[in-house]
């Protein structure tokens, strides 16, 4: 089992390294940061001095070598747009996104399991049709638009919730709600589909014949087997939850890593882009390990596999 997890993590570690190289060179392609950071009437000499100061005048491969050497010293460069160490800025924003994503993911997972399992017990019934339509709509909705309509309705018209920012518990409601849409929609469908498959298998028939209570069959006997594909999808979704976080954080002014990354990209803050990408990639890397471990714990075929 640990051989399996180890092999998988080694693969994703290679991917993280590749990603960092890619981002380094791609972000260098975006143009000269000196034009953005110096006043419009700056002279050629001033721009040159700026580039020399930050090492942007060296050939790319030398810059890259320096970047790698600094990485080994845990020096991630200075965020030009804020004049602070890039990693410090990124680490400040990261927990905000993590809190948002963790709450949204947990809530949508629990909700999806309950709704999906109940829908699967009576396929084609009213509850099933309702759940399918709602989950499809959740998976199809453009999150930025739902966020805007929610602001329009709850903040502008009703005046119940704050439009953006952080602070009170009320500030959490809309960002989490919008962030939950897609995972909830997709997971409900996966739970429903996988549950429908499991519920027709012989061991469930046996349990029914023994006279086990219906809720116990669904939520104890069937759920354990139905959860395997759900966990795979949930893992993929957790990584792509960052996609949603970018949109949600931008609209609701949430000081998370997604908003930070967009700002850094637009302002050509190379060090900050790299730091945010690194943090996100590492977070996803650990997430994948956790998912593999959970998967192994649930599936004896993997648990007893050697390498």
């Amino acid at each position: 089992m640990f051989g399996y997890v180890f092999k998988r993590s080694l693969q994703s570690l290679v991917a993280v390294a590749g990603l960092l190289v890619l981002v380094f060179f791609l972000s260098r392609l975006t143009g000269d940061p000196a034009y953005l950071y110096l006043p419009l009437d700056s002279t050629e000499a001033q721009r040159q001095a700026f580039n020399e100061l930050h090492g942007f005048d060296d050939p790319l491969y030398i810059q890259f070598g320096r970047y790698l050497a600094d990485l080994l010293h845990f020096d991630f460069g200075t965020a030009l747009s804020r004049n602070r160490p890039a990693m410090e800025v990124a680490l400040e924003a990261f927990p905000e996104t993590l809190k948002l994503a963790a709450i949204a993911m947990t809530l949508s997972l629990v909700l999806a399991i309950v709704v999906g399992a109940l829908a699967a017990t009576k396929p084609g019934g009213i509850f099933d049709r309702l759940a399918t339509t709602i989950s499809l709509a959740g998976a199809s909705a453009p999150d930025f638009w739902v966020a805007i309509v929610a602001i329009l309705f709850f903040s502008v018209s009703l005046g119940l919730l704050p439009t953006s920012g952080t602070g009170t518990p009320l500030h959490w409601i809309m960002p989490i709600g919008v962030l939950m849409l897609r995972p909830f929609g997709l997971l409900t469908q996966v739970v429903r589909g996988s549950m429908m498959g499991v519920l027709t298998s012989p061991y469930i028939k046996t349990a029914q014949a023994k006279g086990v209570r219906r809720t116990k069959i669904v939520f104890v006997h069937a759920l354990r087997n139905a959860l395997l594909p759900v966990i795979t999808v949930a893992g993929d979704l957790a990584a792509s939850l960052i996609n949603g976080a970018v949109v949600v954080e931008t609209i609701f002014g949430w000081p998370g890593i997604g908003k930070l990354m967009i700002d850094a990209i637009v302002r050509r803050d190379f060090a900050l882009v790299q730091a945010t990408v690194l943090i996100t990639a590492i977070a996803i890397f650990f997430l994948n390990i956790v998912i593999d471990l959970v998967y192994a714990a649930l599936d004896p075929r993997i648990r007893h596999q050697t390498a």
């Binding site: 199809s140 638009w145 990584a239 996100t280």
Partner: protein
Amino acid sequence: MSTLSLQTPDAEKRTASGPARIFRLLLRDPLATLAFAFLVVVVVCAVAGPFLIGDLIEKPNFRARNMPPFSLEQGFAYILGADTLGRSLLARLVVGARNTLGIATAAVLCSLVIGGTLGLIAGYSRGALGNLIMRATDIVMSFPSLLLALVVLFSLGPSVPNLVLVLAITRIPIYLRTTRAEVLEVRERMFVNAAVALGASHSRLIFRHIAPMVIPTLLTIGAIDFATVVLAESSLSFLGLGIQSPQFTWGSMVATGRGYLANAWWVAFWPGLMILLTTLSLNILSNWWRTYSDPQQRWRLELARRHRK
């Protein structure tokens, strides 16, 4: 040739009754029918609409500035209201449909062709090249697609071809992995072995024997993936790194309307609703198709008929 002529009658029969039968089953599901009808309308609007509209999307009509929807005061073109320059929202939605669907179609085709080709190579050659391709896919998949698209798009500069390319890159792994898996399976089949034994060249094996087995699967994935690509394009355009003005898609229309939310909600509302209805219809149809093409589930569709009669 002999195998070909053996297959023909059966294949002909299937194509003769196939679409008609599928369509009849489709009409039995009201939700799927509605989704299908909506998509037909959108596609017809996207293809033919811009010719009928003429210069309506550019022409400012100052008497219609910020005109609320559901009023026929300025004619039918303004039924959905007008934006701050008094341009008809209905007309802009139609042109936005063309851009949105056009970009998504191009992106899906690109990723299908590139992903399919690379997957074919990775599955067929199994050597170092195949390994390299798979590791490159891992990189793309190890990172949130929207962020990757943002980074790439910002370095390449926002333009329609780049937008298509970026959207394609983020979707390529899906086609690539499916193709590779299918190729690995197909190349072990008896008829491929027979072709190898008969001395077929690599290109003949790939294009004549393996590719025809893989392409239908890819097309199905492409159809299902279309909704995701529409959403991704909309998000990018909404964030301002997708399509650039004066061109626009539904996503960038929402972004424009966001600034006038308090006094003209309809500017942002309609284009977003169009995105929602389009992707929802696509998902409903692909859901229906999944039920239809799964022999263990198809009886549900056929049962519905017996219930009603």
